[in-house]
Amino acid sequence: MQLVTPGIGLIFWMLVSFSLVMYVLAKFAWKPIMKGIHQREDSIEKALEAANDAKKEMLQLKAGNEQLLRDAKDERDALMRDARKMKETIVEEARVLAGEEAARIVESARQNIQMEKMAAINELKNQIASISIEIAEKLIGKELENKQQQQLLTEKLLKDVKIN
């Protein structure tokens, strides 16, 4: 019967010890332990969340980067295209301008040449005239060396005038 009869002494000591141990552990063990575990779980959860966010952000960043790269490429292509076009127009314009200039130069050259030619012709004319006069002088001089010839000439001139 001793086995199944509770004893007052043991009940008393158990009540005291168990209350005491529950109080002491609740105050000095369970409270900090539960707090510590909770805190750690929180920090782990937060860290996981942050890692997830970072991953998402990374993906977004990567997509953004790709977009940026694509845009940059497009812009470069456009720039290249524009540059090429501009080069062509510039070259074309230059060519046109050069042609015009050349034509102008040729024209003015031609005018110069014309003028020079005219001047040269005039000069030549004048010289020919003066040379002709000299020759005529000399010829006349010779013709008029004697009286007979002077007479002859006068007659001939007179004859010419008469005829005219």
Binding site: S17, V21, L25, F28, W30, I33, M34, G36, I37, S43
Partner: protein
């Protein structure tokens, strides 16, 4: 789940009763207190018979000394202080004065047989014969179980305060050493005992009790499995201890019972009126249920732990019972007994954990039931 557990307990109680009856009364030979079997010198002279029932009971009940071993007539035991409250008078002395029950001291004697076996009784004026008419003095002695209780309480405080300091120092570091062994158990109590029974909203308030009860039972179950001094006291297999544990659960349940809980007991909804009036049958049934819950908690733990110890000691006793018949039979049986003993010890390790789990889980379920807010009407018919 609760229902199946209660069924298991009923079965266990029946089995346990059969076992006790078998061991306690199956072999009613009286011997002296030296219950541990003697060497073969005694056996050959046929001087002492081996009483397995008495040996087993002596090992699982409380004692006023911590017996370690007996060899022939030499007893090695740690004497423990006796504290008596006799008619308002406090008397205390060492239990060694009783000489294992052979002598009386200061008008008291340690009874070794009869209904008061193991208790301290008063003697008549001659200081020797037991005074059968006198009331028993109240025994507040520091017995074997009380010492074991103190050791386990000290161990609990040491272990958990030391790991609590680690949590205080750096809570964000992964657990190390003892902390890493105990943290899964603490989390187990929280996630598999407290939260399922009480819900996420209420559980935190009950964690100190559930954790204390779980680790107290678990540690003492394990200490009970150690056969020599610091352990081996069968503390959780003592009805006084389980009674107090169950009382705590009962007190907390009652304290936390809400209106819903008490209404259920006084005026259970969904039950025909003639079951409550004029004979208040249902309230009586409910009230009995109120007491049954902690009672079952008390008996389950006590019976499980005691039964485990009895079976283990039974296997060991077989060696000596056969040894008395024939020395070689004893050796032969020892092989099987040891094998079964090892098997039982391993099983007891499992039981040590399961009983701690079940006690804490049921406590948490009872608390949860006391605090349950609302019942759906259709549940009432199947609730009880």
């Amino acid at each position: 789940m609760v229902r199946t557990l209660i069924d298991t307990v009923r079965l266990q109680v029946v089995l346990f009763a059969v076992l006790i009856a078998g061991f306690a009364y199956g072999n009613p030979v009286t011997t002296d207190t030296a219950a541990i079997p003697q060497n073969n010198l005694h056996e050959q002279t046929g001087e002492k018979a081996f009483d397995a029932g008495k040996m087993i009971i002596d090992h699982i009940v409380d004692a006023h000394e911590w017996h370690i071993l007996t060899y022939n007539d030499f007893h090695l035991a740690i004497p423990l202080p006796v504290i008596l409250l006799d008619n308002g008078k406090l008397v205390s002395f060492s239990s060694s004065h009783f000489h294992h029950g052979k002598e009386a001291y200061r008008g008291y004697r340690l009874e070794t047989e009869g209904p008061n076996e193991g208790k301290i009784v008063k003697t008549l004026e001659d200081g020797e014969t037991v005074d059968a008419s006198a009331k028993l003095p109240l025994d507040f002695s520091i017995t074997k179980n009380v010492v074991s209780l103190f050791i386990s309480v000290l161990l609990l405080c040491l272990i958990f305060i030391s790991i609590a300091n680690k949590y205080k120092k750096n809570p964000d570091v992964a657990p190390k050493g003892l902390q890493s062994v105990l943290e899964p158990l603490i989390l187990f109590v929280r996630d598999d005992i407290a939260i399922p029974g009480l819900g996420k909203k209420n559980y935190a308030r009950f964690m100190p009790f559930l954790l204390t009860v779980f680790f107290f039972i678990f540690l003492n179950n394990l200490l009970g499995l150690i056969p020599i001094f610091p352990g081996g006291a069968n503390l959780t297999g003592n009805i006084s201890i389980t009674l107090v544990l169950a009382l705590f659960t009962f007190a907390i349940t009652t304290y936390n019972g809400n209106k819903n809980y008490w209404m259920h007991i006084i005026n259970a909804p969904g039950v025909p009126w003639w079951l409550k009036f004029p004979v208040p049958l249902m309230p009586i049934v409910e009230l009995v249920g109120l007491i049954t819950k902690p009672f079952v908690l008390m008996v389950r733990l006590f019976a499980n732990m005691t039964a485990g110890h009895i079976i283990l000691l039974g296997f060991m006793s077989l060696i000596f019972i056969f040894g008395k018949m024939n020395i070689f039979a004893g050796y032969g049986v020892s092989v099987f007994s040891l094998a079964f003993g090892v098997f039982m010890s391993l099983l007891e390790l499992l039981v040590a954990f399961i009983q701690a789990y079940v006690f804490a889980l049921l406590s948490s379920i009872y608390f949860g039931m006391a605090m349950e807010e609302h019942h759906h009407p259709e549940e009432h018919t199947t609730d009880h």
